[in-house]
Symmetry: C2
Subunit: 185 residues, 2 copies
């Protein structure tokens, strides 16, 4: 993939550069200490010019936010078990499973470390999913916690454990966060 | 502070190097994007050789963990209001105040980004303080939540909001986390 290659579809090359750069980020995170993750190193791994990366993403922070948004969107499915408690227990268990993946943790840590917007890029889709689960129950006429309370009670402990405490987060522990939240409604 | 300066107390130079390097980390975090935070940049700012920093701390991750452990130990006082609810409300409010400081957030993000142990360095003392508050109430004969539940219910939302959601964490919101935790005991 050289700069001189003739591309029949302009979008084709752009999409390939994006895929190569995203893949390079994942590879470097899996192999190297976090401080080696720089735009020149990512560009070299992806086989593109560093200037291409700077022009397209602007900074390491924006590149990692793009990779994280892409990685953490649509990867966990909003369940439909027919009850709020069932949906929330399934969903927290799935999020805990995702957060047990070392590659996920490495990407999250690097994205957080790269700038103030990094954390949001990792969890914006989780917020939206939690909001959707609660809204569906409200539409069914059920009693629901506020989304803020649900974020505090579910996403708070899940992500705290992943990033701060180093304790393993089992599916059983994660599902156990749901009952106290709903008991207080 | 050159390498050739004669030091009457050997511990004196070592302590000064440590202070200069810790201060350099804080200054660079306040001024520059996170990707500029490298050991050569820190050493240059501190006026010491990069080899001195590598020899003493080994890696950026270990240096930042040392800075974070030092910064986040003993900075929030364990209160003694005479009741568990009073102690926890005072303490969560103080932690929320600390987490509203942009310099604190920049140090936490960089420490998390530098490696897997970074998060623990930021919160190990908070865990210990929360354990101490709960243990004192238990010794008084009061009913207490487990430390695990308290971590999930208090530290989880506090640190999630600081790192992930970008929402401001008011003292009122933070103190409001205590009642649901104690209601479930």
């Amino acid at each position: 993939m050289t700069e001189a290659t003739v591309q029949p579809r302009p979008g084709g090359r752009s999409a390939r550069v994006r895929a190569a750069v995203h893949r390079a980020v994942g590879e470097l995170l899996a192999e190297e200490p976090a401080e080696v993750l720089t735009i020149p190193a990512i560009a070299a791994r992806a086989g593109v010019h560093a200037t291409t990366v700077y022009r397209r993403w602007g900074s390491l922070a924006q590149l990692l936010a793009d990779v994280a948004t892409s990685r953490f969107s649509g990867d966990v499915v909003v369940p439909d078990t027919g009850s709020l408690v069932g949906d929330l227990e399934r969903w927290t268990g799935d999020v805990a499973t995702d957060l047990a993946d070392p590659d996920v943790l490495a990407l999250m840590r690097a994205t957080i470390g790269s700038g103030p917007e990094g954390g949001c890029a990792c969890t914006a889709d989780r917020h939206a999913q939690l909001g959707a689960i609660i809204e569906r129950e409200r539409a069914r006429g059920g009693k629901v916690p506020s989304v803020e309370r649900a974020v505090d009670g579910l996403l708070g402990p899940l992500y705290y454990r992943a990033i701060f405490s180093g304790e393993p987060a089992s599916g059983e522990w994660a599902r156990g966060l749901v009952a106290p939240l709903l008991a207080a409604v």
